[in-house]
């Protein structure tokens, strides 16, 4: 008993003595923190993404010695998709002068958006986060290329309309949205409701509570009753494989089930096995290792043991998504170095760099990503670009190309984004007007 007490006392003393003076690291490099979730219920989706992101940046360090001669310091901060931990990670990395934030969770991005302008650190929420932040005039410090969730939903409608013989043929049809009952899942609803009014189809909503992600039989029973013609799956983590399995169980035609770009993980379709053949998912990066940039990653990072990725997972859909995210970061840093003339850039320089981002066909070829993604361009008032995506199809064992590049319905999406941004600024009294100058894109 006494021994217990002594042990307890020393444990407590040690714990209290080791409180937290954090020295800000004197960065002799460009500091890029990556918020990861390798733990928790969304780890299945989070792990390949952060692997891809880290590997590409490390590859640049190994192959080129960094960007513009300055090394990139990559550091992961584990959030477990929990907003509390995400905010704590933010406070911790803020002291080390990061040039960009990658929160990788809509739930963490939302509280960080007001802080970005105050702390002068731009947020790159690639194809996630707040759709309205595509409006650069209201959100000068937030970027979300290449497409927003509203673009994705409009691409889904365009694809469905195309298969039906024309967008007008959607009149009278039923379109279902199966979504995670969280801000992430609710994102496409306003756009789909607007399109339902325009094209005359009936929108049916099937929310899946986060606690019931693996217990979706009620939602799919409802789908069996309602028999929607097309279903859009806005899910994440453990929700996706369960949804695909349930769809297979009720014999829903797989080629009418379309997931958004976060529902396209290999682990999402694989558990349903052959039943998931034909399942489609939006994608804006290609799959596979057949690209020079992936080959370089294999050569310089994975084969040398400097990566946490198992070799057979390189080239997976979400792994390549992470690589694309890092490509955007790297190009943003490069453009920032050009625009500001400095090699060791700050957050403000990075903001200008991201705002002048222009990855065209030629540049993609230069970096070895020819055909890997569609070209993307960001402008001062449009922080997104509303670029195209394509449909990837699951053939039973892997993802293959299922359609050509699909453009979003820009004419429908852009006005909604601008009005949503206005609503956001109006609802938050004292939202600062944009004071940052607009560089001409280089």
């Amino acid at each position: 008993m006494r021994l217990h007490r002594v042990l307890l006392g020393t444990a407590l003393a040690a714990a209290t003595l080791l409180t937290v003076p954090l020295a800000a690291s004197s960065a002799d490099g460009i500091y890029v923190p990556l918020f990861s979730y390798r733990t928790g219920p969304f780890a299945g989706s989070g792990t390949p993404i952060v692997n891809g992101m880290a590997d590409y940046l490390n590859m640049l360090n190994e192959r080129d010695g960094g960007i513009g001669g300055v090394k990139i310091i990559v550091e992961e901060c584990e959030t477990g998709y929990d907003t509390k931990k995400g905010l704590e990670c933010y406070e911790q990395v803020k002291a080390k002068n990061p040039v960009v934030m990658n929160p990788y969770s809509t739930g963490i991005t939302l509280p960080l958006i007001p802080k970005a302008a105050i702390d002068k650190i731009p947020i790159l929420s690639m194809a996630y986060g707040l759709s309205a932040s595509a409006d650069g005039n209201t959100f000068p410090w937030v970027f979300n290329p290449p497409a927003t969730y509203w673009d994705g939903a409009s691409m889904f409608i365009r694809y469905a309309g195309g298969k039906e013989g024309g967008l007008e043929r959607l009149k009278g049809k039923k379109i279902g949205l199966v979504y995670l009952d969280a801000p992430y899942g609710k994102e496409p609803i306003p756009l789909l409701e607007a399109l339902a009014k325009d094209y005359g189809f009936e929108l049916k909503l099937y929310p899946v509570p986060a606690a019931e992600m693996q217990n979706q039989s009620s939602q799919w029973l409802n789908i069996r009753r309602d028999r929607p013609d097309w279903i859009y799956l806005q899910g994440f983590g453990a929700m996706n494989p369960t949804a695909v399995k349930e769809a297979a169980k009720i014999n829903y035609p797989m080629d009418h089930l379309i997931g958004n770009w976060w529902a396209g993980n290999d682990d999402d379709a694989r558990p349903a096995g052959d039943g998931a053949k034909g399942y489609l998912s939006l994608d804006f990066n290609q799959v596979g290792t057949n690209y020079k940039v992936i080959q370089d990653i294999l050569k310089y990072v994975v084969d040398k043991g400097k990566s946490q990725t198992p070799k057979d997972r390189v080239g997976e859909n979400l792994y390549n998504r992470g690589v694309l995210n890092s490509i955007i970061i790297a190009e943003g840093i490069r453009t920032a170095q050009k625009v500001s003339g400095k090699k060791q850039i700050t957050g403000e320089d990075m903001r200008r760099g991201l705002e002048s981002l222009n990855i065209n066909e030629a540049r993609l070829k230069e970096i070895g990503a020819d055909g890997f993604a569609a070209p993307m361009k960001v402008a001062c008032d449009d922080h997104n670009g509303h670029n195209a995506a394509y449909m990837a199809k699951w053939d039973g064992t892997k993802w293959v190309k299922g359609s050509d590049w699909i453009e979003p319905l820009k004419s429908k999406v852009r006005p909604l984004i601008e009005s949503a941004a206005k609503d956001y600024a109006g609802a938050n009294a004292g939202w600062p007007k944009r004071t940052e100058a607009c560089d001409k894109s280089s």
Binding site: A11, L18, E76, G107, P209, A210, Y424
Partner: protein, 358 residues
Amino acid sequence: MLYREVGQYKTNYAADMSVMPLIQDRVGIGIILFIAAVIIPYFGNAFLIQAIMIPFLVFSLAAIGLNLLTGYTGLLSLGTGAFMGVGAYACYKLTTYFPGVNILIWIIASGLFSAVVGVVFGLPSLRIKGFYLAVATLAAQFFLSWCFIRQPWFYNYNASGAIEVPTRTLFGIPVTGATAADATRYYVVLGIVVAMTWLASNLVHGRIGRMWMAVRDMDLAAELIGIRLLRTKLLAFAVSSFYCGVAGALLVFQWYGSAEPAVFDVNLSFFILFMVIIGGLGSLTGSYLGAALIFILPIVLRYIPPHLGIPIRPATVDHIQYMVIGALIVLFLIVEPNGLARLWQIGKQKLRVWPFPY
């Protein structure tokens, strides 16, 4: 030797019955308040204030609330998260409807809304006892979580379902929102938490506290000596939910800056319950100690390996952190089931007789 009451004579009844009879206690509290109010904001960096002290104070307040219900009245409640959510959303709706009124008034008022909801869900407590009451509070937890997600009125019908905190000022200084300085927010939270702790201390040392403890110890006997059970229990629910509601409003308005419904889920309820049980049921000091251990220790554990220069991946650190916390909880319960507060009392007792062993 350090803690003896030798030489301190009381000359009137009031002094004799005071809550802190020893001068050492008062000096100690004074030193702690001085450190909290002066040293920490002055010398602490942004990380300490924003990511450690403000959340620690918010969680301590919630832990005090739960301790009043579970520790002093013996009613196990797993709905703390939901009651905090009610406070947060009430504050949000109030400040949206009446933006001109001082936000501090609304933070306190949101506690009242939470108290009303707490009383409604506490009504089964007359029929149901012990562990089964926990299920009733779980029903409250899940029902209110569902309301926050599925009833769009709560988040003003905005598209994302999350609430953003608008900027509000106090005497011209921004107090909430992104422009509020760390120190300002810290002082607001510190002020409210200190005031409410003082209020709680007076409650538990007075007649109401004794009624609660009588109900906890044996409610049949309490009823026999004339304590009205339903009123006492409902009062416990009301006061506890008031504290949790204010804590929830502070959590959203002074710490997070925004909130989505997943913040107030059942995991938060369990989190606060851990703090209360590890800290010590039935003790206000215990609430603070429990909050410190459960909240601050994982953060400390996470930063030890980089400090010592050991290269471990962050995910592995997270896993080890879970294992260490789990093992520590079991270890604490084996060593001292009455929680940290009891250890503190034993420590004080040792200080009385030091340097003698007994």
